[in-house]
Subunit: 558 residues, 2 copies
């Protein structure tokens, strides 16, 4: 048997994983990894925390060095080697050794592209001024650390409120820097449904972070005193001592495009379920490829480490003749920012709309991470999406201080296994007072949804709140009602409802709200059994305040 | 339609949940709850934390009072009403009102028994001495609090090292009391496999808790100075200022037995999948009933709040004509003790042996709760059990400081959904550096197991380590090897393995160990591809030290 020669372009995450897996599967293969950077197999997810000095030792970010690859895996890793072109006919790469500035050709039997994605850095006026950074590599983070050490910035602007933006906001804020986040959309964390992002806005605002949303960047300049000034399209001028551009990433597809490999509709390299490109000898993995969303069926660019890792294993398996298939992505993700955790899995409501999927429902809930009587209970704001026909779980989003990622993990596994809300209802999860509740938030999410599907309670459409002529009933206690309530609601506390049923209209729908949705559910059960037409405003006041943060006139979702 | 009269005996957890659910389903039913205690719907799981002064306000433990039941649910709750007998023919209960010491008969159309379980308090000499307590009710915890307040105990003996014992150990230790745990078995946390319990022993020992295992209690007496003395069967005498009996619970079946209801093989009330007893008008839920283990098929007494809640809903549904079925229990449970979390779901190895199930495999791993480069990484010691034929996940146990319950929850959901280790491998879970790793411990557990089933690596049987003539190879670095290693192992670091392959025997099996199992897996792949017969000692040295805590002569498991 002939020795197989596998060349991998890009030695971070996907590339390094693929190389190691290849070696485990085939002790005899020749494996070469080429990377134009100085480092391979470094922890790119850790860079914000290195900037934030949470990780203090740069060495810790280097997960494996070229000598380790050589010694442990018998893999030839060449850093500062840039691949200039793929000669698909000859089965060769044109490579430049950046150290010697010489070029050579490298033959392959199988080629794996793992070039990753580059931070977006739009060609705005002044974008190259000193103090404006993107963050992708160890040298990038070193540059920001040096800037902080030498300039001691008091103020920073983070452009972009996605995962990296929020992680950078946390890390810079923890170094005592006052943060302004500028985000073109009118919400942070663009993957979230807008009302769920509102909890993030509230939290960051309470942490002293300035949010400047719904406005793009026009350019950067220096003030007379030499300070950076961020100019926005709406005309704002924000002085800053440091700017981080966290405007998303773009897949690195130049090499693939120039080699004539097929590119997908979203601009990533197109691959099949075995991560093979349109050339049968070339595979591609990681942030540069398009993958199918397992829930919506949409093609997506999902720059996440977990899926990149799985893809790398699939590609290695395929090269070694195994038939492993990539099952697509759910888009499970988590982000921590200043004590808040934001996590999601599966489809959001906006993704479902984008995919054209119909017949789904949403419920909101606000259960604590553990029983209320154990100290430190904090709400987890959660939204669950499911198919009305059969209760199939489609997606979940959660925001809170503790236990958020745990609930999203359980639901991620549920989605993977095609579980329904009836399964969530019945899930048997860890409970002791410091850890949860006999009815875990995951159970409650299932129960709330299952109650709808069983016909035990009907949901009122939050989006029509401003336009409805339904009777709005608030069943909380008077002191809760007086603090704030759904606009136009009438208060009858749950405990008085049976006695005061005659006060309610017989000929109109009654939309019921409470604090988080539970008492309204009880009220719905009472009223419908008394022949009235009652519907629950899911999640109650805690949902209302984020759906209608500026009053009932401007519904945020439908 | 006639009004239905439902009477519920026992108003904690199951009883209270059942009552509230009944009301939601049937606004017209008459619902009566009888409880011989002073309180209903109190948080019995919270009692250890009330004793520990973590929960300071007794009111917080009262989740719902009789007036709230009346007002919100129109339910007639009668505390201090003891049910003396069930007259099944007449459909009536004989009830004593403890306040007036009068008896009356209470008719029912449907009866729900939710009597719970009582702490075991064996009739040992001196068991009624002052300062010896069990913990089931609010008055019990109040008594212990008073004893602590007045006597200021410096030393406590906790008899029994299960869930309640360990929670009490934590809570008393946190009040500055020196703890000795006496446990009849030679391990704490009896549900765990013994080697997994060893991590608990290590932790408690490091926290200064004295462990006295493998010895039962002979009796209690007072010393000349008036101190309590706990005498053990082996002859030890342990002085103490306070004794907590946490020796497990026994289902309260007296009423059911006397009424001639069928009792199961484990001594609990026998019920069908709708929680109906052998009398078609009587249901039973909670700690007093026997349920089927969803994994092993065994009948079990599982005194857990989550299943009790689900059972209560099922019984209420059945009474209202719905066909909801109880799907059995997985036995998911969690316990926190002095900073350590212990959790499990599904079957343990010993439960599988007990059930007679064959053809399962076990793997061990020791992955961190998050990436190692983010500060604070701590191992989660995990054991995964799966069916060899198809990889069906059968159970998992985990012990660690952080993120333990999260991984067990994900695996609990996997077991519920009949997932395989191949599904765990592919699970897409939350990852960012503070939260996990691109390969989460759940993924790694799946991968380690799937590698075995795919034939990529063979496992050596840990239990035969003392008897094998296999060549024992340790592929860690020399300084790790020198610190401690599997007895009789020879060290060749992984990085030198390819060059030194000739040093290994061609004609003997080679059993390979490392730190946690990863390098040994790599080594297995290298050696088997070079034609040698290599097997991995799953989990490496971190498994070895708990399987053989006192050296290789005494294997703990097979």
């Amino acid at each position: 048997m002939e020795t197989k020669r596998v060349v991998i372009v890009g030695g971070v995450a996907g590339g390094a994983t693929c190389a190691a897996r290849l070696r485990r599967l085939d002790e005899s293969a020749e494996i070469v990894v080429l990377d134009r950077g100085e480092y391979v197999s470094f922890a790119n997810c850790g860079l914000p925390y290195y900037v934030g000095d949470v990780i203090r030792d740069e060495e810790k970010l280097l997960l494996a060095s070229p000598p380790l690859f050589r010694e442990r895996f018998n893999i030839d890793v060449r850093t500062r080697h840039e691949v200039l072109a793929i000669d698909r006919v000859a089965g060769e790469l044109v490579v430049r050794d950046l150290a010697t500035d010489s070029e050579y050709r490298e033959p392959y039997d199988a080629l794996v592209l793992s070039p990753g994605a580059a931070p977006v850095r739009p060609p705005l006026p002044g974008v190259d001024l000193p103090g404006i950074f993107t963050l992708r590599s160890i040298p990038d983070s070193r540059d920001i650390r040096s800037w902080i050490a030498s300039r001691k910035p008091r103020r920073a602007v983070v452009v972009g409120g996605g995962f990296i933006g929020l992680e950078m906001a946390e890390n810079l804020a923890n170094r005592g820097i006052k943060i302004t986040i500028v985000e073109m959309m009118n919400q942070l964390m663009p993957p979230l449904d807008m009302e769920m992002a509102e909890y993030v806005h509230e939290h960051l605002y309470a942490c002293g972070v300035r949010l400047h949303m719904g406005d793009g960047i026009a350019g950067f300049e220096l003030s007379d005193r030499g300070d950076l000034v961020v100019r926005t399209q709406a005309g704002a001028a924000i002085e800053s001592d440091l700017v981080i551009l966290a405007m998303g990433v773009r897949p690195e597809t130049k090499l693939a495009r120039e080699a004539g490999l097929e590119i997908g509709e979203r601009g990533g390299i197109r691959v099949d379920a075995q991560m093979r490109t349109s050339d049968p000898r070339i595979w591609a993995v990681g942030d540069a490829v398009e993958v199918r969303n397992a829930v919506t069926g949409l093609c997506e660019l999902i720059p996440l480490a977990g899926p990149a890792n799985r893809q790398a294993r699939v590609a290695a398996d395929a090269i070694c003749g195994r038939t492993t298939r990539f099952r697509g992505v759910e888009g499970t993700a988590v982000c921590g920012t200043l004590g808040l955790t934001v996590a999601l899995t599966g489809a959001t409501e906006k993704a479902l709309h984008r995919s054209g999927m119909k017949g789904f429902r949403a419920v909101w809930l606000h259960a604590s991470q553990h029983v209320g009587y154990y100290p430190g209970a904090q709400p987890i704001h959660m939204k669950l999406l499911f198919r009305a026909a059969d209760g199939l779980v489609l997606g979940a989003q959660a925001v809170g201080r503790e236990g958020v990622e745990r609930r999203i993990d359980a639901i991620a596994l549920a989605i993977q296994m095609k579980a329904t809300v009836f399964d969530l209802e019945e899930a048997e999860l860890c409970y002791a007072p410091p850890y949860g509740a006999a009815k875990d938030p995951v159970n409650l999410a299932g129960m709330v949804a299952a109650n709808v599907l069983r016909g035990d309670v009907d949901l009122a459409p939050w989006g029509e709140l401003g336009a409805t002529d339904a009777f709005l009933l608030d069943v909380r206690d008077p002191q809760e009602f007086l603090a704030d309530s759904v606009d136009g609601a009438v208060n009858i506390p749950l405990g008085e409802l049976r006695a005061r049923i005659a006060e309610l209209p017989q000929d109109r729908e009654i939309w019921i709200s409470c604090g988080v949705g539970q008492r309204a559910y009880y009220a719905c059960r009472i009223l419908t059994q008394h022949g009235l037409s009652a519907r629950n405003l899911s999640g109650g006041y805690q949902t209302y305040r984020v759906l209608y943060p500026e009053g009932v006139a401007q519904p945020c979702v439908c």
